[in-house]
């Protein structure tokens, strides 16, 4: 798994690549927490090169969404979610908790 973070004026664009499972989810969660700790609560998560995510990753997503939405200070939105991962998120009932965008530019423009 690899994470890159690009700071824009109104939001952070975090790209997560590779596989998020129980082994790598702590690192993924930490990247989201690091943004929050710098008072960055508007986050676009670009999943274009994400190959796999288990419920350990979903747990990190949920924690981040809770923290970002607190006091209406922001939210996490998802961009370019691969079809298999979208299906798993749907099964877990997560699709209604996250806005999804087909391209990161629109997602960044959302903020």
């Amino acid at each position: 798994m690899e994470i890159t973070n690009q700071e824009f004026k109104h939001c952070d664009l975090i790209a997560v690549k590779g596989r998020v499972d129980s082994a790598t989810a702590p690192q993924f969660a930490k990247a989201l927490e690091t943004a929050n700790n710098s008072s960055r609560f508007k986050i676009v998560l670009d999943m274009n090169e994400l190959e796999y995510m288990s419920s350990a990753g979903f747990r990190a997503l949920l924690a981040a969404q809770r923290n970002c939405k607190r006091y209406n200070r922001g939210e996490v939105v998802l961009a370019r979610v691969p079809v298999r991962i979208r299906e798993a998120l749907e099964l877990a009932g997560f699709t209604e908790l996250f806005k999804m965008f087909d391209d990161p530019v629109t997602a960044v423009g959302h903020f």
Partner: protein
């Protein structure tokens, strides 16, 4: 039925998913089904490492993964703490963000992704059997 032994560590989840994918691919399962099988196996192994072997090091997961006619059969045996599988409630997937529970999601996904999930505690250990038909 070859049996594979994996150290009960998250670092081996990649290999477990790879083994399941190879077997399923050879058995003619679709890419969508292969992803489902990998996810179910990952959730099962993660649960064993996290719960059955909580606080135990040097433990192992004994895994079989075979094509049996139209079905793929994945078994995982652990020698850790038995787990009350039937007591895992379905998570409330309609509750809003603040009430959303994350516990039980792994088991819920396993049940949804597979056709059959059976868990029993035997003399050899806790045996999880998951099957899915090729469609």
């Amino acid at each position: 039925m070859p049996a594979y032994t994996f150290p009960a560590s998250f670092d081996y989840l990649d290999e477990i998913r790879e083994l399941v994918a190879e077997t399923a691919r050879a058995g003619g399962f679709s890419e969508k089904a292969i992803y489902s099988l990998q996810l179910a196996a990952d959730e099962a192994a993660s649960n064993i490492i996290e719960h059955a072997y909580e606080g135990i090091s040097n433990a192992s997961i004994y895994l079989t993964c075979d094509i049996n006619g139209e079905e793929i059969v994945i078994t995982m045996l652990d020698k850790g703490t038995p787990f009350d599988f039937s007591a895992v409630k379905e998570p409330n997937l309609t509750s809003d963000l603040s009430e959303r529970q994350i516990g039980g999601l792994g088991v819920y996904l396993m049940r949804k992704l597979m056709d059959k999930v059976n868990y029993e505690t035997t003399r050899a250990g806790n045996l999880l059997t998951m099957t899915k038909r090729r469609v």
